[in-house]
Symmetry: C2
Subunit: 238 residues, 2 copies
Amino acid sequence: MTEKELRLKTAEIEKISHLDYFNIAISVDCVIFGYDDKELKVLLIKSDLEEFAGLHSLLGDLIRPDEDLESASYRILRDRTGMDDLYLEQVHTFGSLDRHPSGRVITITYYSLIDIKHHKLKLSHNELNWHPVNEIKKMAFDHKLILDTCLARLQEQVMEHPVIFNLLPEKFSLRELQELYQAILGFELDRRNFRKKISIKDWLVDIDEMENDVPHRPGKLYKLKPEFRKKTARKKLV
Amino acid sequence: MTEKELRLKTAEIEKISHLDYFNIAISVDCVIFGYDDKELKVLLIKSDLEEFAGLHSLLGDLIRPDEDLESASYRILRDRTGMDDLYLEQVHTFGSLDRHPSGRVITITYYSLIDIKHHKLKLSHNELNWHPVNEIKKMAFDHKLILDTCLARLQEQVMEHPVIFNLLPEKFSLRELQELYQAILGFELDRRNFRKKISIKDWLVDIDEMENDVPHRPGKLYKLKPEFRKKTARKKLV
DNA sequence: AATTTAATGTGTCGTAAGTACATATTTATT
DNA sequence: AATAAATATGTACTTACGACACATTAAATT
Protein backbone atom coordinates (compact mmCIF):
# COMPACT_ATOMS: atom_id res chain seq x y z
CA MET A 1 0.00 0.00 0.00
CA THR A 2 1.41 3.39 -0.94
CA GLU A 3 1.57 6.19 1.61
CA LYS A 4 -1.27 7.97 -0.10
CA GLU A 5 -3.48 4.90 -0.04
CA LEU A 6 -2.62 4.44 3.61
CA ARG A 7 -3.67 7.97 4.47
CA LEU A 8 -6.95 7.57 2.62
CA LYS A 9 -7.63 4.30 4.35
CA THR A 10 -6.94 5.78 7.78
CA ALA A 11 -9.27 8.70 7.13
CA GLU A 12 -11.95 6.30 6.04
CA ILE A 13 -11.59 4.22 9.18
CA GLU A 14 -11.80 7.27 11.36
CA LYS A 15 -14.90 8.48 9.60
CA ILE A 16 -16.77 5.30 10.29
CA SER A 17 -16.59 4.67 13.99
CA HIS A 18 -16.44 1.10 15.12
CA LEU A 19 -19.80 1.25 16.84
CA ASP A 20 -21.60 2.14 13.63
CA TYR A 21 -20.88 -1.30 12.36
CA PHE A 22 -23.25 -2.63 14.96
CA ASN A 23 -25.96 -0.22 14.00
CA ILE A 24 -27.50 -2.74 11.62
CA ALA A 25 -30.29 -5.02 12.71
CA ILE A 26 -30.65 -8.54 11.44
CA SER A 27 -33.94 -10.23 10.89
CA VAL A 28 -35.26 -13.49 9.55
CA ASP A 29 -38.28 -13.60 7.27
CA CYS A 30 -40.14 -16.81 6.53
CA VAL A 31 -42.20 -17.49 3.44
CA ILE A 32 -44.54 -20.15 4.78
CA PHE A 33 -46.18 -22.00 1.93
CA GLY A 34 -49.30 -24.08 2.31
CA TYR A 35 -51.65 -25.81 -0.10
CA ASP A 36 -55.41 -25.81 0.10
CA ASP A 37 -58.33 -25.72 -2.25
CA LYS A 38 -56.05 -26.48 -5.20
CA GLU A 39 -54.09 -23.28 -4.64
CA LEU A 40 -50.62 -22.54 -3.34
CA LYS A 41 -50.96 -20.20 -0.40
CA VAL A 42 -48.68 -18.19 1.80
CA LEU A 43 -49.14 -17.20 5.40
CA LEU A 44 -49.13 -13.43 5.84
CA ILE A 45 -49.88 -10.88 8.52
CA LYS A 46 -51.29 -7.38 8.17
CA SER A 47 -48.48 -4.89 8.42
CA ASP A 48 -48.64 -2.75 11.54
CA LEU A 49 -46.63 0.08 10.01
CA GLU A 50 -48.37 3.22 8.89
CA GLU A 51 -46.30 3.38 5.73
CA PHE A 52 -47.71 0.04 4.68
CA ALA A 53 -51.31 0.40 5.86
CA GLY A 54 -53.48 -2.20 4.20
CA LEU A 55 -50.53 -4.25 2.95
CA HIS A 56 -49.42 -7.63 4.17
CA SER A 57 -46.00 -8.78 5.22
CA LEU A 58 -44.13 -12.01 5.74
CA LEU A 59 -43.61 -13.48 9.14
CA GLY A 60 -40.31 -12.44 10.59
CA ASP A 61 -38.52 -11.06 13.57
CA LEU A 62 -35.19 -9.68 14.63
CA ILE A 63 -32.59 -12.29 15.42
CA ARG A 64 -31.73 -12.44 19.10
CA PRO A 65 -28.13 -12.21 20.16
CA ASP A 66 -28.21 -15.73 21.54
CA GLU A 67 -29.83 -17.64 18.72
CA ASP A 68 -28.53 -18.77 15.39
CA LEU A 69 -30.34 -18.30 12.09
CA GLU A 70 -32.18 -21.60 12.02
CA SER A 71 -33.25 -21.20 15.64
CA ALA A 72 -34.72 -17.82 14.88
CA SER A 73 -36.58 -19.22 11.89
CA TYR A 74 -37.95 -22.13 13.86
CA ARG A 75 -39.00 -19.77 16.64
CA ILE A 76 -41.03 -17.78 14.14
CA LEU A 77 -42.56 -20.91 12.66
CA ARG A 78 -43.44 -22.23 16.10
CA ASP A 79 -44.93 -18.94 17.25
CA ARG A 80 -47.04 -18.53 14.15
CA THR A 81 -48.09 -22.04 13.28
CA GLY A 82 -47.77 -23.90 16.57
CA MET A 83 -45.68 -26.52 14.75
CA ASP A 84 -42.16 -27.70 15.20
CA ASP A 85 -40.20 -29.81 12.82
CA LEU A 86 -41.27 -28.10 9.61
CA TYR A 87 -39.39 -28.20 6.35
CA LEU A 88 -37.14 -25.14 6.19
CA GLU A 89 -34.69 -23.91 3.59
CA GLN A 90 -32.59 -20.77 3.43
CA VAL A 91 -33.02 -18.87 0.18
CA HIS A 92 -31.39 -15.46 0.03
CA THR A 93 -30.32 -12.49 2.10
CA PHE A 94 -31.64 -9.05 1.28
CA GLY A 95 -29.87 -5.93 2.44
CA SER A 96 -30.68 -2.84 0.40
CA LEU A 97 -30.12 0.33 2.37
CA ASP A 98 -33.69 1.49 1.99
CA ARG A 99 -35.56 -1.75 2.41
CA HIS A 100 -36.88 -0.88 5.86
CA PRO A 101 -38.32 2.55 6.61
CA SER A 102 -37.17 2.70 10.21
CA GLY A 103 -33.51 1.88 9.70
CA ARG A 104 -30.96 -0.52 8.33
CA VAL A 105 -32.25 -4.07 8.54
CA ILE A 106 -30.68 -6.95 6.72
CA THR A 107 -32.96 -9.94 6.42
CA ILE A 108 -32.17 -13.57 5.84
CA THR A 109 -35.05 -15.32 4.14
CA TYR A 110 -36.28 -18.89 4.36
CA TYR A 111 -39.11 -20.78 2.85
CA SER A 112 -41.06 -23.36 4.75
CA LEU A 113 -43.63 -25.94 3.68
CA ILE A 114 -46.58 -26.96 5.79
CA ASP A 115 -49.62 -29.17 5.47
CA ILE A 116 -52.37 -26.65 6.16
CA LYS A 117 -55.11 -29.10 6.99
CA HIS A 118 -53.08 -31.14 9.41
CA HIS A 119 -52.66 -28.49 12.04
CA LYS A 120 -54.46 -25.70 13.77
CA LEU A 121 -53.09 -22.26 13.15
CA LYS A 122 -53.63 -19.73 15.82
CA LEU A 123 -55.48 -17.62 13.32
CA SER A 124 -57.92 -16.13 15.77
CA HIS A 125 -56.11 -13.44 17.70
CA ASN A 126 -54.43 -11.46 15.00
CA GLU A 127 -54.56 -10.67 11.34
CA LEU A 128 -52.76 -13.78 10.26
CA ASN A 129 -54.17 -15.45 7.17
CA TRP A 130 -53.47 -17.71 4.22
CA HIS A 131 -53.38 -15.89 0.90
CA PRO A 132 -53.34 -17.44 -2.58
CA VAL A 133 -49.87 -16.72 -3.95
CA ASN A 134 -51.27 -15.82 -7.36
CA GLU A 135 -53.45 -13.06 -6.01
CA ILE A 136 -50.75 -11.18 -4.16
CA LYS A 137 -49.77 -8.03 -5.99
CA LYS A 138 -48.26 -5.68 -3.46
CA MET A 139 -46.71 -6.25 -0.08
CA ALA A 140 -45.04 -4.27 2.68
CA PHE A 141 -41.26 -3.63 2.55
CA ASP A 142 -39.56 -5.64 -0.22
CA HIS A 143 -41.59 -8.67 0.73
CA LYS A 144 -43.07 -9.18 -2.72
CA LEU A 145 -39.55 -9.57 -4.09
CA ILE A 146 -38.74 -12.01 -1.30
CA LEU A 147 -41.88 -13.99 -2.00
CA ASP A 148 -41.10 -14.15 -5.71
CA THR A 149 -37.54 -15.25 -5.01
CA CYS A 150 -38.70 -18.00 -2.69
CA LEU A 151 -41.37 -19.17 -5.11
CA ALA A 152 -38.78 -19.34 -7.89
CA ARG A 153 -36.55 -21.44 -5.64
CA LEU A 154 -39.44 -23.74 -4.76
CA GLN A 155 -40.21 -24.18 -8.44
CA GLU A 156 -36.60 -25.09 -9.15
CA GLN A 157 -36.49 -27.68 -6.41
CA VAL A 158 -39.81 -29.31 -6.87
CA MET A 159 -39.05 -31.62 -9.79
CA GLU A 160 -35.59 -32.56 -8.55
CA HIS A 161 -36.11 -33.12 -4.86
CA PRO A 162 -38.94 -34.74 -2.92
CA VAL A 163 -39.88 -31.63 -0.97
CA ILE A 164 -43.42 -31.12 -2.17
CA PHE A 165 -44.76 -33.83 0.11
CA ASN A 166 -44.38 -31.50 3.07
CA LEU A 167 -47.41 -29.68 1.70
CA LEU A 168 -49.62 -32.76 1.61
CA PRO A 169 -51.15 -35.06 4.20
CA GLU A 170 -49.39 -38.35 4.73
CA LYS A 171 -51.66 -40.22 2.34
CA PHE A 172 -52.55 -38.72 -1.00
CA SER A 173 -53.70 -39.72 -4.46
CA LEU A 174 -51.77 -39.12 -7.65
CA ARG A 175 -54.41 -36.64 -8.73
CA GLU A 176 -53.86 -34.57 -5.59
CA LEU A 177 -50.13 -34.70 -6.15
CA GLN A 178 -50.45 -33.62 -9.76
CA GLU A 179 -52.77 -30.76 -8.87
CA LEU A 180 -50.21 -29.58 -6.33
CA TYR A 181 -47.38 -29.65 -8.87
CA GLN A 182 -49.56 -27.64 -11.22
CA ALA A 183 -50.39 -25.10 -8.54
CA ILE A 184 -46.70 -24.57 -7.83
CA LEU A 185 -45.43 -24.60 -11.39
CA GLY A 186 -48.29 -22.59 -12.81
CA PHE A 187 -49.03 -24.79 -15.80
CA GLU A 188 -50.90 -27.98 -16.64
CA LEU A 189 -49.25 -31.38 -16.86
CA ASP A 190 -50.25 -34.36 -18.94
CA ARG A 191 -51.67 -36.97 -16.60
CA ARG A 192 -50.08 -40.04 -18.17
CA ASN A 193 -46.66 -38.48 -18.53
CA PHE A 194 -46.82 -37.09 -15.03
CA ARG A 195 -47.50 -40.54 -13.59
CA LYS A 196 -44.69 -42.06 -15.59
CA LYS A 197 -42.25 -39.41 -14.39
CA ILE A 198 -43.24 -39.81 -10.77
CA SER A 199 -43.04 -43.58 -10.95
CA ILE A 200 -39.49 -43.36 -12.36
CA LYS A 201 -38.40 -41.28 -9.39
CA ASP A 202 -39.45 -44.11 -7.10
CA TRP A 203 -40.37 -41.80 -4.25
CA LEU A 204 -43.77 -43.35 -3.45
CA VAL A 205 -45.24 -46.50 -1.97
CA ASP A 206 -48.68 -47.76 -2.90
CA ILE A 207 -50.31 -48.31 0.50
CA ASP A 208 -53.20 -50.33 -0.92
CA GLU A 209 -55.90 -47.94 0.20
CA MET A 210 -58.38 -45.90 -1.77
CA GLU A 211 -59.69 -42.38 -1.48
CA ASN A 212 -63.07 -42.37 0.24
CA ASP A 213 -64.17 -38.76 0.33
CA VAL A 214 -64.40 -37.95 -3.35
CA PRO A 215 -67.61 -37.62 -5.39
CA HIS A 216 -66.28 -39.83 -8.17
CA ARG A 217 -64.33 -42.99 -8.72
CA PRO A 218 -61.74 -43.09 -5.92
CA GLY A 219 -58.05 -43.31 -6.73
CA LYS A 220 -55.32 -45.25 -5.00
CA LEU A 221 -53.51 -43.67 -2.09
CA TYR A 222 -49.75 -43.35 -1.79
CA LYS A 223 -47.21 -42.35 0.83
CA LEU A 224 -43.73 -40.89 0.48
CA LYS A 225 -41.06 -43.50 1.19
CA PRO A 226 -39.70 -42.70 4.65
CA GLU A 227 -36.11 -42.35 3.45
CA PHE A 228 -37.11 -39.23 1.54
CA ARG A 229 -38.65 -37.40 4.47
CA LYS A 230 -36.09 -34.66 4.98
CA LYS A 231 -36.46 -31.32 6.64
CA THR A 232 -34.23 -29.58 4.13
CA ALA A 233 -33.11 -30.24 0.56
CA ARG A 234 -29.73 -28.67 1.17
CA LYS A 235 -26.81 -31.02 1.29
CA LYS A 236 -25.24 -31.17 4.70
CA LEU A 237 -21.54 -30.48 4.33
CA VAL A 238 -20.66 -30.93 7.99
CA MET B 1 -52.03 -16.24 24.26
CA THR B 2 -52.78 -17.32 27.83
CA GLU B 3 -51.83 -15.16 30.78
CA LYS B 4 -49.00 -17.50 31.61
CA GLU B 5 -47.59 -17.35 28.11
CA LEU B 6 -47.88 -13.60 28.21
CA ARG B 7 -45.90 -13.36 31.44
CA LEU B 8 -43.17 -15.60 30.05
CA LYS B 9 -43.00 -13.57 26.87
CA THR B 10 -42.71 -10.31 28.80
CA ALA B 11 -39.92 -11.67 30.96
CA GLU B 12 -38.10 -12.78 27.84
CA ILE B 13 -38.41 -9.37 26.23
CA GLU B 14 -37.14 -7.62 29.35
CA LYS B 15 -34.17 -9.94 29.54
CA ILE B 16 -33.03 -9.06 26.07
CA SER B 17 -32.67 -5.32 25.91
CA HIS B 18 -33.34 -3.62 22.62
CA LEU B 19 -29.74 -2.53 22.20
CA ASP B 20 -28.50 -6.10 22.26
CA TYR B 21 -30.17 -6.66 18.96
CA PHE B 22 -27.59 -4.41 17.40
CA ASN B 23 -24.74 -6.21 19.03
CA ILE B 24 -24.30 -8.43 16.01
CA ALA B 25 -21.82 -7.59 13.30
CA ILE B 26 -22.42 -8.39 9.66
CA SER B 27 -19.73 -9.31 7.25
CA VAL B 28 -19.40 -10.39 3.66
CA ASP B 29 -17.02 -13.17 2.66
CA CYS B 30 -16.03 -13.80 -0.94
CA VAL B 31 -14.86 -17.08 -2.36
CA ILE B 32 -12.87 -15.85 -5.33
CA PHE B 33 -12.27 -18.67 -7.77
CA GLY B 34 -9.64 -18.61 -10.45
CA TYR B 35 -8.29 -21.15 -12.90
CA ASP B 36 -4.66 -21.66 -13.73
CA ASP B 37 -2.35 -24.52 -14.53
CA LYS B 38 -5.33 -26.84 -15.03
CA GLU B 39 -6.41 -26.36 -11.42
CA LEU B 40 -9.30 -24.56 -9.80
CA LYS B 41 -7.86 -22.09 -7.31
CA VAL B 42 -9.18 -19.81 -4.63
CA LEU B 43 -7.74 -16.54 -3.43
CA LEU B 44 -6.91 -16.64 0.29
CA ILE B 45 -5.13 -14.54 2.86
CA LYS B 46 -3.18 -15.63 5.91
CA SER B 47 -5.30 -15.21 8.99
CA ASP B 48 -4.07 -12.50 11.32
CA LEU B 49 -5.78 -14.00 14.35
CA GLU B 50 -3.72 -15.85 16.91
CA GLU B 51 -6.35 -18.56 17.22
CA PHE B 52 -5.88 -19.38 13.57
CA ALA B 53 -2.13 -18.97 13.23
CA GLY B 54 -0.91 -20.62 10.05
CA LEU B 55 -4.40 -21.00 8.61
CA HIS B 56 -5.86 -19.13 5.70
CA SER B 57 -9.13 -17.31 5.44
CA LEU B 58 -11.44 -15.99 2.77
CA LEU B 59 -11.50 -12.37 1.79
CA GLY B 60 -14.13 -10.49 3.65
CA ASP B 61 -14.93 -7.46 5.69
CA LEU B 62 -17.61 -6.01 7.88
CA ILE B 63 -20.43 -4.37 6.00
CA ARG B 64 -20.49 -0.64 6.39
CA PRO B 65 -23.65 1.07 7.52
CA ASP B 66 -23.96 2.90 4.23
CA GLU B 67 -23.41 0.13 1.72
CA ASP B 68 -25.59 -2.69 0.57
CA LEU B 69 -24.48 -6.31 0.32
CA GLU B 70 -23.39 -6.26 -3.30
CA SER B 71 -21.50 -3.00 -2.79
CA ALA B 72 -19.59 -4.51 0.10
CA SER B 73 -18.74 -7.57 -1.98
CA TYR B 74 -17.57 -5.50 -4.91
CA ARG B 75 -15.51 -3.34 -2.57
CA ILE B 76 -13.72 -6.44 -1.34
CA LEU B 77 -13.21 -7.72 -4.87
CA ARG B 78 -11.89 -4.35 -6.02
CA ASP B 79 -9.55 -4.00 -3.03
CA ARG B 80 -8.13 -7.46 -3.43
CA THR B 81 -8.02 -8.01 -7.16
CA GLY B 82 -7.98 -4.50 -8.57
CA MET B 83 -10.88 -5.49 -10.80
CA ASP B 84 -14.39 -4.21 -11.11
CA ASP B 85 -17.19 -5.86 -12.95
CA LEU B 86 -16.53 -9.41 -11.85
CA TYR B 87 -19.04 -12.22 -11.83
CA LEU B 88 -20.62 -12.38 -8.38
CA GLU B 89 -23.28 -14.61 -6.90
CA GLN B 90 -24.70 -14.80 -3.40
CA VAL B 91 -24.62 -18.31 -1.98
CA HIS B 92 -25.56 -18.63 1.66
CA THR B 93 -25.56 -16.83 4.98
CA PHE B 94 -23.82 -18.37 7.96
CA GLY B 95 -24.66 -17.33 11.48
CA SER B 96 -23.72 -19.91 14.12
CA LEU B 97 -23.21 -18.35 17.51
CA ASP B 98 -19.65 -19.55 17.80
CA ARG B 99 -18.39 -19.06 14.29
CA HIS B 100 -16.21 -16.08 15.18
CA PRO B 101 -14.00 -16.10 18.27
CA SER B 102 -14.31 -12.41 19.00
CA GLY B 103 -18.06 -12.07 18.96
CA ARG B 104 -21.24 -12.59 17.08
CA VAL B 105 -20.67 -12.14 13.37
CA ILE B 106 -23.14 -13.20 10.73
CA THR B 107 -21.60 -13.50 7.30
CA ILE B 108 -23.19 -13.39 3.89
CA THR B 109 -21.12 -15.34 1.40
CA TYR B 110 -20.61 -14.86 -2.31
CA TYR B 111 -18.60 -16.59 -4.92
CA SER B 112 -16.84 -14.76 -7.67
CA LEU B 113 -15.14 -15.93 -10.85
CA ILE B 114 -12.07 -14.31 -12.30
CA ASP B 115 -9.69 -14.89 -15.15
CA ILE B 116 -6.40 -15.08 -13.27
CA LYS B 117 -4.13 -14.46 -16.21
CA HIS B 118 -5.96 -11.46 -17.48
CA HIS B 119 -5.25 -9.17 -14.57
CA LYS B 120 -2.59 -8.21 -12.10
CA LEU B 121 -3.32 -9.06 -8.49
CA LYS B 122 -1.71 -6.92 -5.90
CA LEU B 123 -0.06 -10.00 -4.52
CA SER B 124 3.07 -8.28 -3.37
CA HIS B 125 2.31 -6.46 -0.16
CA ASN B 126 0.52 -9.04 1.86
CA GLU B 127 0.02 -12.70 2.26
CA LEU B 128 -2.55 -12.97 -0.45
CA ASN B 129 -2.20 -16.00 -2.68
CA TRP B 130 -3.95 -18.42 -5.00
CA HIS B 131 -4.40 -21.90 -3.53
CA PRO B 132 -5.49 -25.03 -5.37
CA VAL B 133 -8.96 -25.82 -4.03
CA ASN B 134 -8.19 -29.52 -3.79
CA GLU B 135 -5.28 -29.01 -1.47
CA ILE B 136 -7.09 -26.97 1.14
CA LYS B 137 -7.80 -29.01 4.22
CA LYS B 138 -8.25 -26.61 7.09
CA MET B 139 -9.10 -22.95 7.21
CA ALA B 140 -9.72 -20.23 9.77
CA PHE B 141 -13.23 -19.75 11.21
CA ASP B 142 -15.84 -21.82 9.38
CA HIS B 143 -14.28 -20.85 6.08
CA LYS B 144 -13.72 -24.40 4.92
CA LEU B 145 -17.45 -25.00 5.20
CA ILE B 146 -18.11 -21.80 3.28
CA LEU B 147 -15.65 -22.79 0.58
CA ASP B 148 -17.24 -26.23 0.25
CA THR B 149 -20.70 -24.71 0.05
CA CYS B 150 -19.63 -22.29 -2.67
CA LEU B 151 -17.84 -24.99 -4.63
CA ALA B 152 -20.95 -27.17 -4.47
CA ARG B 153 -23.00 -24.26 -5.79
CA LEU B 154 -20.53 -23.65 -8.59
CA GLN B 155 -20.67 -27.32 -9.53
CA GLU B 156 -24.47 -27.19 -9.67
CA GLN B 157 -24.50 -24.14 -11.90
CA VAL B 158 -21.74 -24.99 -14.27
CA MET B 159 -23.60 -27.38 -16.59
CA GLU B 160 -26.82 -25.37 -16.60
CA HIS B 161 -25.63 -21.81 -16.90
CA PRO B 162 -22.85 -20.22 -18.95
CA VAL B 163 -20.89 -18.94 -15.95
CA ILE B 164 -17.67 -20.87 -16.37
CA PHE B 165 -16.46 -18.51 -19.09
CA ASN B 166 -15.70 -15.90 -16.47
CA LEU B 167 -12.72 -18.07 -15.52
CA LEU B 168 -11.27 -18.14 -19.05
CA PRO B 169 -9.73 -15.59 -21.37
CA GLU B 170 -11.97 -14.28 -24.10
CA LYS B 171 -10.73 -16.77 -26.67
CA PHE B 172 -10.30 -20.41 -25.73
CA SER B 173 -10.15 -23.84 -27.28
CA LEU B 174 -12.56 -26.66 -26.55
CA ARG B 175 -9.76 -28.55 -24.86
CA GLU B 176 -9.18 -25.70 -22.44
CA LEU B 177 -12.89 -25.51 -21.75
CA GLN B 178 -13.13 -29.23 -21.11
CA GLU B 179 -10.14 -29.18 -18.77
CA LEU B 180 -11.78 -26.39 -16.81
CA TYR B 181 -15.03 -28.33 -16.47
CA GLN B 182 -13.05 -31.29 -15.24
CA ALA B 183 -11.16 -29.20 -12.71
CA ILE B 184 -14.43 -27.88 -11.30
CA LEU B 185 -16.40 -31.10 -11.36
CA GLY B 186 -13.57 -33.30 -10.19
CA PHE B 187 -13.93 -36.04 -12.77
CA GLU B 188 -13.00 -36.76 -16.37
CA LEU B 189 -15.34 -36.18 -19.29
CA ASP B 190 -15.48 -37.99 -22.60
CA ARG B 191 -14.16 -35.65 -25.26
CA ARG B 192 -16.69 -36.45 -27.98
CA ASN B 193 -19.69 -36.37 -25.65
CA PHE B 194 -18.47 -33.16 -24.08
CA ARG B 195 -18.22 -31.45 -27.45
CA LYS B 196 -21.66 -32.66 -28.44
CA LYS B 197 -23.19 -31.36 -25.23
CA ILE B 198 -21.52 -27.97 -25.54
CA SER B 199 -22.52 -27.61 -29.15
CA ILE B 200 -26.17 -28.33 -28.29
CA LYS B 201 -26.16 -25.50 -25.76
CA ASP B 202 -25.22 -23.09 -28.54
CA TRP B 203 -23.25 -20.82 -26.23
CA LEU B 204 -20.17 -20.47 -28.42
CA VAL B 205 -19.10 -18.87 -31.69
CA ASP B 206 -16.27 -20.25 -33.78
CA ILE B 207 -14.10 -17.21 -34.35
CA ASP B 208 -12.08 -18.83 -37.12
CA GLU B 209 -8.76 -18.59 -35.34
CA MET B 210 -6.42 -21.28 -34.11
CA GLU B 211 -4.36 -21.75 -30.98
CA ASN B 212 -0.76 -20.72 -31.60
CA ASP B 213 1.06 -21.35 -28.35
CA VAL B 214 0.60 -25.10 -27.97
CA PRO B 215 3.28 -27.75 -28.55
CA HIS B 216 0.98 -29.88 -30.67
CA ARG B 217 -1.67 -29.60 -33.33
CA PRO B 218 -3.55 -26.36 -32.55
CA GLY B 219 -7.29 -26.40 -31.98
CA LYS B 220 -9.91 -23.92 -33.08
CA LEU B 221 -10.65 -20.96 -30.86
CA TYR B 222 -14.10 -20.01 -29.66
CA LYS B 223 -15.76 -17.11 -27.86
CA LEU B 224 -18.84 -16.99 -25.67
CA LYS B 225 -21.76 -15.43 -27.54
CA PRO B 226 -22.13 -11.90 -26.14
CA GLU B 227 -25.76 -12.45 -25.09
CA PHE B 228 -24.56 -14.92 -22.45
CA ARG B 229 -22.08 -12.60 -20.78
CA LYS B 230 -23.81 -12.00 -17.49
CA LYS B 231 -22.41 -10.94 -14.18
CA THR B 232 -24.73 -13.22 -12.25
CA ALA B 233 -26.71 -16.35 -13.00
CA ARG B 234 -29.51 -15.31 -10.68
CA LYS B 235 -32.72 -14.30 -12.35
CA LYS B 236 -33.52 -10.67 -11.85
CA LEU B 237 -36.98 -10.45 -10.38
CA VAL B 238 -37.16 -6.68 -10.29
C1' DA C 1 12.93 -34.87 -45.95
C1' DA C 2 10.88 -38.63 -43.81
C1' DT C 3 9.10 -40.59 -39.69
C1' DT C 4 7.13 -40.49 -35.29
C1' DT C 5 4.25 -38.58 -31.83
C1' DA C 6 0.36 -36.46 -29.86
C1' DA C 7 -3.55 -33.99 -30.01
C1' DT C 8 -7.66 -32.47 -32.92
C1' DG C 9 -12.01 -33.50 -35.13
C1' DT C 10 -15.83 -36.31 -36.07
C1' DG C 11 -20.24 -40.37 -35.99
C1' DT C 12 -22.88 -44.45 -34.61
C1' DC C 13 -25.38 -47.41 -31.86
C1' DG C 14 -27.76 -48.77 -27.82
C1' DT C 15 -30.26 -47.12 -23.85
C1' DA C 16 -33.03 -43.96 -21.15
C1' DA C 17 -36.11 -40.26 -20.76
C1' DG C 18 -39.56 -36.79 -22.74
C1' DT C 19 -43.82 -35.81 -25.36
C1' DA C 20 -48.11 -36.41 -27.65
C1' DC C 21 -52.01 -38.95 -27.64
C1' DA C 22 -56.92 -42.77 -26.90
C1' DT C 23 -59.47 -46.37 -24.83
C1' DA C 24 -61.32 -49.41 -21.41
C1' DT C 25 -62.67 -49.50 -16.50
C1' DT C 26 -64.72 -48.17 -12.25
C1' DT C 27 -67.65 -45.69 -9.22
C1' DA C 28 -71.13 -42.21 -8.05
C1' DT C 29 -75.10 -39.97 -9.71
C1' DT C 30 -79.45 -39.61 -12.00
C1' DA D 1 -80.59 -49.15 -15.96
C1' DA D 2 -78.32 -45.49 -18.05
C1' DT D 3 -75.21 -41.66 -17.69
C1' DA D 4 -71.35 -38.95 -16.27
C1' DA D 5 -66.81 -38.33 -14.64
C1' DA D 6 -62.66 -39.69 -13.11
C1' DT D 7 -59.12 -43.55 -12.82
C1' DA D 8 -55.74 -46.56 -14.96
C1' DT D 9 -52.87 -47.78 -18.51
C1' DG D 10 -49.45 -48.24 -23.37
C1' DT D 11 -47.41 -47.01 -27.79
C1' DA D 12 -44.92 -44.53 -31.19
C1' DC D 13 -41.89 -40.68 -31.98
C1' DT D 14 -38.37 -37.78 -30.75
C1' DT D 15 -34.59 -36.17 -28.05
C1' DA D 16 -30.76 -36.67 -24.81
C1' DC D 17 -27.01 -39.59 -22.75
C1' DG D 18 -23.00 -42.76 -22.70
C1' DA D 19 -19.74 -45.83 -24.57
C1' DC D 20 -16.64 -46.18 -28.01
C1' DA D 21 -12.65 -45.87 -32.81
C1' DC D 22 -10.46 -43.90 -36.61
C1' DA D 23 -8.70 -40.53 -39.88
C1' DT D 24 -6.32 -35.97 -39.91
C1' DT D 25 -3.15 -32.41 -38.76
C1' DA D 26 0.86 -30.13 -37.04
C1' DA D 27 4.90 -30.25 -34.18
C1' DA D 28 8.96 -32.72 -32.81
C1' DT D 29 12.39 -36.00 -33.78
C1' DT D 30 15.46 -38.55 -36.57
